[in-house]
Symmetry: C2
Subunit: 250 residues, 2 copies
């Protein structure tokens, strides 16, 4: 089977790398950013092009949500399967006469960070059983965690991931801003962060909640508000109010 990856960002790079590591043939990486494509191509030894899209049986589109629709139009073949990798788009966004599908890896990708692909959950949606099998077969060579998912469900998976990953990372960024301001090394907080995550492998996060808000410790809450300003203060208030509501505190 001839497979082409379209895109040159983090998802394209890591998916291409997962293909190469698992010896799944990949005939081309296609995209607009020649500099990035060249880097990926050199590292993974896969041909690339910015102009001539190869004919293929499967195209996997790994571009930002905003560009999926546009770029999907460049595939003029009809007898092929096209998948996008977005958590927040229906497969019908794809603009062509080919078979449409979704191939969604639930993970956060940074180019500079090596990762274990075998643990990444893949969520698959296709028009028919045969296409589903094609995508399941590929995903199963990369990961142990492959599931079917409708668009309705995928939206919520993505939304959950935004809370559990994107927002969590932003809290780390705001936390580091606070510790940096006092010249406290952020490394001190890594064991605490590790433990916070380890806990939820064993305890429901709702039961694992600690801190001044769930203790309803008004003195500390006021003290902290005095130390904060700007966006961090807004986050502090919003999170505390949400904790208050979740635990029905007075």
């Amino acid at each position: 089977m001839q497979t082409v990856i379209i895109g040159s960002g983090n998802v394209a790079f890591h998916l291409a790398k997962a293909f190469v590591l698992n010896k799944i043939p990949l005939t081309q990486i296609f995209g607009r950013n020649e500099k990035e494509l060249n880097k990926i191509s050199t590292e993974l030894n896969i041909p690339y092009s910015t102009e001539n899209l190869n004919e293929a049986d499967l195209y996997i589109i790994c571009v930002s949500d905003n560009s999926v629709e546009d770029i999907s139009g460049i595939i003029t073949e009809k007898d092929c399967l096209v998948a996008h990798t977005s958590g927040s788009l229906p497969k019908e966004i794809l603009m062509g006469k080919y078979r449409k599908s979704s191939f969604y890896p639930l993970q956060t990708f940074s180019k500079s960070k090596a990762m274990d692909y075998s643990k990444i959950p893949f969520f698959i949606e296709a028009e028919n059983e045969q296409d589903r099998k094609i995508l399941f077969n590929i995903a199963s060579q990369i990961s142990k965690n492959v599931m079917e998912s409708t668009y309705e469900k995928r939206k919520y998976i993505h939304l959950t991931a935004v809370f559990a990953c994107n927002f969590v990372n932003h809290l780390f960024a705001r936390a580091k801003e606070i510790s940096d301001s006092q010249e406290i090394p952020f490394d001190y907080f890594l064991p605490l962060i590790d433990e916070t995550v380890q806990k939820i492998y064993e305890i429901d996060p709702k039961s694992a909640q600690t801190g001044p808000a769930v203790r309803n410790d008004k003195r500390v809450l006021e003290l902290h508000e005095q130390l904060l300003n700007g966006e961090s203060l807004e986050i502090y208030k919003t999170m505390n109010l949400s904790i208050k509501k979740m635990y029905h505190l007075p």
Copy 2:
């Protein structure tokens, strides 16, 4: 040296356990909650009392911030060292004629969860060099990470921990609420959460940010807002605004 731990909550239990595991003598656990004290006493084989506080050289008060001041008054000895374990109280909150100090373990404790004490940073403050040495000596038997810290700094350490731990856990709880509502197993998100944390060991969290907000993907942001309500919607808006400001997005 005779040491007594005062309290029967998560911190008291884990600190007592760390003492026992590292063969640091502990003569008594003292507190109000007989049921909890009895459990700790049985598990760790340390005498407990709810009425007669032993004479000791060192008392470590492990109670909630609200109760530190009150309970510190029960120590009537003068020639002893008393430490509290709060991140948000000055050592002067302690009400007695003894030497006052702070012995602050930066960690999140749940009774039901075993943990590696050797990685917990301890922050110490004392009135004089000798007391500092006593507390350093004890903390160093438990952990490799023992540092001095003033109250001014400790307040910010605690505040950073609230963002990096308490609020992160609350995001997990809200994320699970969303995935539960769609019958999506929360376990699917654990590899993503692990990766989110692993990343910040290698990349500054500000540089590691991914997701629709930092991409300024208005379609997804609007879609997500439609899926949310109540406190989770408030968190969603506040976090996105904060991301927008941090990255100077239009």
